[in-house]
C-alpha cells in the first residue's frame, strides 16, 4: 500500500495513476476505504444498487454487500441520526445527502448531536462520520439544487468542512475525512464533477481529460486536512477560493494577465491560516471569492482574519466576490453566479487601490 501524503501533484514514484474525473476519484476513495476498514459504511438515498444519482457509489454495493453500502429512507434527519448511532457503536459511517439543499432536516442531528458528542461526553463517544454532499450551482438546478450552505456548517463548533476542487484532491481529502475521528462535511462541487469550469458558461464544457489534477493514484493516499494548496504563485495579489471558484479565478487571472497568487483553501475548518498569512504578507492585497451568498458567508470570516492578522501588510481594502443575497435563481443563474466580470472588476479595484 502506497501511503503518500504529498499535498501537491503526485510524485513520479507514487505508483500507478489513472485519469479520473471527480466522480471516479471519489468512488475510488470510497472503494479503498471500504476495503481497508470493515467499519466504513456508506448510506444514503439511491446510493446502493443504483450507485447514486451522480454515480459516486457505482459498483460499491455489488463489491462490498448490502450491509456496507445501502439505500436509506428519504429522511435526512434519519440518515445523519443513524450515522451518529453507528459511530457510537464503532462504525465509520459515510452518509450521502443527495443534494446539499436537502441537508436542512438533518441539521439538528448534525449541529446539536454529531458536532457536540465528543465535547459533551468528554470524548467517551465520538461521531467519526463524513457527510458527503454535492453542492453549488451552475447546472440550472434552481434554488433547491444549487445552494452553497458551507458557512452554516463552518459556524458550528465541532464540525470540519472540506471542499475539493480537483479529482486528485477529492480522493486524497476524502480519505483523510473518513479516517478523521470528528464529523466532517465534505461538499462536492457538482459543477466540476466532470470537468473544471472556468466561468465562461457560453463556451463548451470541458472534461477532466488531459488535466494534471485528473491523474489520480489508484492506491491509497491522503491529503491532510487543514492544508491549503497554492494553485499558482504570484506577487500582485492573493486570491482565496475553494471548490468551483478555484478554476474560475484561475482563468480570470490568466486572461487578465495578472500575476495573482491563488490559494485553494481545500479545508475551511480547520483553516490553513499560515498559508493565508504568508501569501497576503507577500502580496499586500487580498481577494476572497465564493459562490455562496455574501452576508455572513465564509468570506466574512476570511476577511476578518486577514484584517486582524495582516493589517499592516495590506495595501488595499480586502475585496469579496460572492453570489448575491437572493435564493439561487433558475433563469438568471449566470447573472447570479460570481463570474469573470464580477471577479475582474474586483481585481481591477484591488490593483488600482
Amino acid at each position: 500500500m502506497n501511503d503518500m501524503t504529498t499535498e501537491t501533484a503526485p510524485a513520479a514514484d507514487a505508483g500507478e495513476t489513472r485519469e479520473m474525473n471527480m466522480i471516479e476519484a471519489i468512488n475510488s476513495a470510497l472503494d479503498i476505504m471500504l476495503d481497508r476498514d470493515d467499519n466504513v459504511t456508506l448510506l444514503g438515498e439511491d446510493i446502493g444498487y443504483f450507485g447514486g444519482v451522480f454515480r459516486c457509489t457505482a459498483g460499491l454495493q455489488e463489491k462490498y454487500g448490502k450491509t456496507r453500502v445501502f439505500d436509506t429512507p428519504i429522511s435526512e434527519c434519519g440518515i445523519i441520526g443513524v450515522a451518529v448511532g453507528m459511530g457510537a457503536y464503532g462504525l465509520r459511517p459515510v452518509p450521502e445527502i443527495q443534494f446539499a439543499d436537502y441537508i436542512y432536516p438533518g441539521l439538528d442531528q448534525l449541529i446539536s448531536e454529531a458536532a457536540r458528542l465528543r465535547y459533551r461526553s468528554a470524548a467517551e463517544f465520538i461521531a467519526p462520520m463524513t457527510v458527503r454532499s454535492p453542492f453549488g450551482g451552475g447546472i440550472f438546478g434552481g434554488q433547491t439544487h444549487s445552494q452553497s450552505p458551507e458557512s452554516i456548517f463552518t459556524h458550528v463548533s465541532g464540525l470540519k468542512t472540506v471542499i475539493p476542487s480537483t479529482p486528485y484532491d477529492a480522493k486524497g481529502l476524502l480519505i483523510s475525512c473518513i479516517e478523521d475521528n470528528d464529523p466532517v462535511i465534505f461538499f462536492e462541487p457538482k459543477r466540476i464533477y466532470n470537468g473544471p469550469f472556468d466561468g465562461y458558461y457560453d463556451k463548451p464544457a470541458k472534461s477532466w481529460k488531459g488535466f494534471e489534477a485528473a491523474q489520480v493514484p489508484t492506491d491509497y493516499y491522503k491529503i491532510p486536512l487543514g492544508k491549503a494548496r497554492t494553485v499558482r504563485e504570484g506577487d500582485a495579489l492573493t486570491i482565496l477560493a475553494y471548490g468551483t471558484m478555484v478554476h474560475v479565478v484561475e482563468s480570470v487571472a490568466r486572461d487578465k494577465g495578472v500575476n495573482a497568487e491563488i490559494l485553494d483553501l481545500r479545508t475551511l475548518v480547520p483553516l490553513d491560516i499560515e498559508a493565508i498569512e504568508a501569501s497576503v504578507e507577500k502580496t499586500g492585497r487580498c481577494l476572497i471569492v465564493h459562490e455562496a451568498t455574501r452576508t455572513s458567508g465564509f468570506g466574512s470570516e476570511l476577511s476578518a482574519l486577514v484584517q486582524e492578522r495582516c493589517f499592516y501588510h495590506l495595501e488595499a481594502p480586502i475585496e469579496r466576490v460572492t453570489g448575491f443575497d437572493t435564493p439561487y435563481p433558475h433563469s438568471l443563474e449566470w447573472a447570479y453566479f460570481p463570474g469573470p466580470v464580477r471577479i475582474g472588476e474586483a481585481i481591477d479595484k484591488l490593483l488600482e487601490a
Partner: protein
C-alpha cells in the same frame, strides 16, 4: 475496561441487518400475483362522520370501483354523470399530452428539467374534482393534474417551464415548481414533505376562523419517511384539522422502491392507525375510486370529523424526472404487467361500456388535445425559452427576497445590471 456482558454474547443468536431489496431488477420477469387485489365493489363504505377506527380495515384493503367488466360497482361508486366523467377523462388525457410534449421540449433543450406523472393522472385530476374550488391544495412536484383540473392555462404552465419573460414566477423556480394563488394551489417546493405540516396549518387556520375551506396535500410514498410527515399527522390529529393527506404510492422514489419507506411491513394507509386518524387505501388507477375516496375525506373534514390519510396505490410508469433512467434499476416489465391498468384507458372503457363514449371519440380527443398543447407551446415560445435572453429584468432577481429591498440588495442589483452592460454592451434589455 471489563466487558460488562459476562457471556460476551456467545450464547445469544447473531443479529443480522435487514436491507430491503425490490422483487425485480432490470431484465427480471415480473410476477404481481403476490399483490392482493380485491374485486371492485367489495369494500364497505363507512359514514363520513364515523369514528376513525371504523376505517382501519380499509387501510389494509383497496377501495376499487371500476371492475374488469368496465362497470362501476359497490358502495364507493360516486355515481357521477357522464359529463363529469368525460371531463375527468379529458383532463387526464390533457395531462398526458402535456407531459409528452414537455418531456420532448426538455430533450430539445428548451428547458432544463421536466417531470411526468404518467399513470398517476387520476390521483391528481380526479382527487381535485372531489374538492371545492376554494379548498387549498398543497402539492408535491407531480401534481400538474391538480392545476389542469382547476383550469390553469397551459401557456402559463409552459411559460413557467421555460422560465421566460412571461413566467409568473419570474424565472426563479425550477421548471414544474408551479404556484397559483388564484387557483388555491400553493407554491411547490423542491424539498420533500415540507408541504404536509403547512397544509395542516392552513386547515387549522381555516377551522380557527370558522371558515368552511379545507386543505388537501400530496406526497410521494418515499417522502413519508421525512420527519415532516409525522409532524403533520400529529398536529392534524391533535387539532382535528380539516386536512386530507394524499400519499401517492407509485412504488418508486427515484431508484428506491417503496420498501425503503416501510412498505414491507405495513401499508402507507395504515400509518393513519397509529395516529387515530381515518385512513383509506384506494386503487389509484381507478378514477372513480380516487374521486370517491377524496370526496369522502373532504366531506368528513367539512363535517368537522377530522383529517384523513389516503394511500393511492399506483405505479410511476416513467422515470422520476428527465434526469433519471429507470432502466438502470427496475425491470421494464413492471410497467407492462402492472395489474391495475391505466387510469385513462379504464375511464374511457367505462364510458364506452355506458354507451357514452367511443374509440373514435377517444382518438379524436387525443388529436385535439395534442393540437391544443402544441398551440400553447407556440404561444409560450414567443415569450422565450430557457437561456435565450427573453427572461425577466435583472432587477427582479432581487425583488421578493423581502417585502422591501434593503440597501445591500439594491447595491447587488446595481452590480448585476452593471455586469450585464459589460457583458452585452449596447443591449438595452436589462
Amino acid at each position: 475496561m471489563a466487558d460488562q456482558r459476562d457471556d460476551k454474547g456467545t450464547n445469544r443468536p447473531k443479529l443480522a441487518l435487514h436491507v430491503p431489496e425490490p422483487k425485480y431488477r432490470p431484465g427480471d420477469k415480473v410476477d404481481y400475483s403476490h399483490l392482493n387485489i380485491p374485486e371492485a365493489g367489495e369494500q364497505s363504505r363507512p359514514d363520513e362522520a364515523c369514528e376513525a377506527k371504523d376505517t382501519f380495515a380499509l387501510c389494509n384493503d383497496l377501495v376499487r370501483v371500476l371492475g374488469d367488466d368496465n362497470q362501476a360497482h359497490g358502495p364507493w361508486d360516486p355515481r357521477l354523470d357522464a359529463d363529469t366523467l368525460r371531463q375527468m377523462l379529458r383532463e387526464m388525457a390533457l395531462v398526458r399530452a402535456f407531459d409528452n410534449r414537455m418531456y420532448r421540449a426538455q430533450r430539445q433543450g428548451k428547458t432544463s428539467f421536466y417531470m411526468k406523472c404518467t399513470g398517476e393522472e387520476a390521483t391528481s385530476v380526479c382527487a381535485t374534482h372531489a374538492l371545492a374550488g376554494d379548498d387549498m391544495i398543497f402539492p408535491s412536484y407531480r401534481q400538474q393534474g391538480c392545476l389542469i383540473a382547476r383550469g390553469y392555462e397551459l401557456t402559463e404552465m409552459i411559460n413557467q417551464i421555460y422560465s421566460n419573460k412571461a413566467d409568473k414566477l419570474k424565472g426563479r423556480q425550477l421548471p414544474i415548481m408551479y404556484c397559483s394563488k388564484r387557483l388555491n394551489f400553493f407554491s411547490i417546493s423542491g424539498n420533500l414533505a415540507t408541504q404536509l405540516p403547512q397544509a395542516t396549518g392552513f386547515a387549522m387556520a381555516s377551522a380557527s376562523k370558522g371558515d368552511s375551506r379545507i386543505a388537501a396535500t400530496w406526497v410521494g410514498e418515499g417522502s413519508t419517511a421525512e420527519g415532516d410527515f409525522h409532524s403533520a399527522l400529529t398536529f392534524a390529529t391533535v387539532y382535528n384539522a380539516p386536512v386530507i393527506f394524499n400519499v401517492i404510492n407509485n412504488q418508486w422514489a427515484i431508484s428506491s422502491f417503496s420498501g425503503f419507506a416501510g412498505s414491507e411491513r405495513a401499508t402507507f394507509a395504515a400509518r393513519a392507525i397509529g395516529y387515530g386518524m381515518a385512513g383509506l387505501r384506494v386503487d389509484g388507477n381507478d378514477p372513480l375510486a380516487v374521486f370517491a375516496a377524496e370526496r369522502w375525506a373532504a366531506d368528513r373534514a367539512r363535517a368537522n370529523a377530522g383529517p384523513t390519510l389516503i394511500e393511492h396505490f399506483t405505479y410511476r410508469a416513467e422515470g422520476h424526472s428527465t434526469s433519471d433512467d429507470p432502466s438502470a434499476y427496475r425491470s421494464a416489465e413492471e410497467r407492462e404487467e402492472w395489474p391495475l391498468g391505466d387510469p385513462i384507458m379504464r375511464l374511457a372503457r367505462h364510458l364506452i361500456a355506458l354507451g357514452e363514449w367511443s374509440d373514435e371519440q377517444q382518438e379524436d380527443m387525443d388529436t385535439e388535445l395534442d393540437a391544443i398543447v402544441r398551440k400553447a407551446m407556440k404561444e409560450a415560445e414567443k415569450n422565450g425559452i430557457l437561456g435565450h435572453g427573453l427572461h425577466h429584468p435583472f432587477h427582479t432577481m432581487f425583488e421578493d427576497v423581502f417585502e422591501e429591498l434593503p440597501w445591500h440588495l439594491e447595491e447587488q442589483a446595481e452590480q448585476a445590471i452593471r455586469e450585464r452592460r459589460i457583458k452585452f454592451p449596447g443591449d438595452p434589455a436589462e
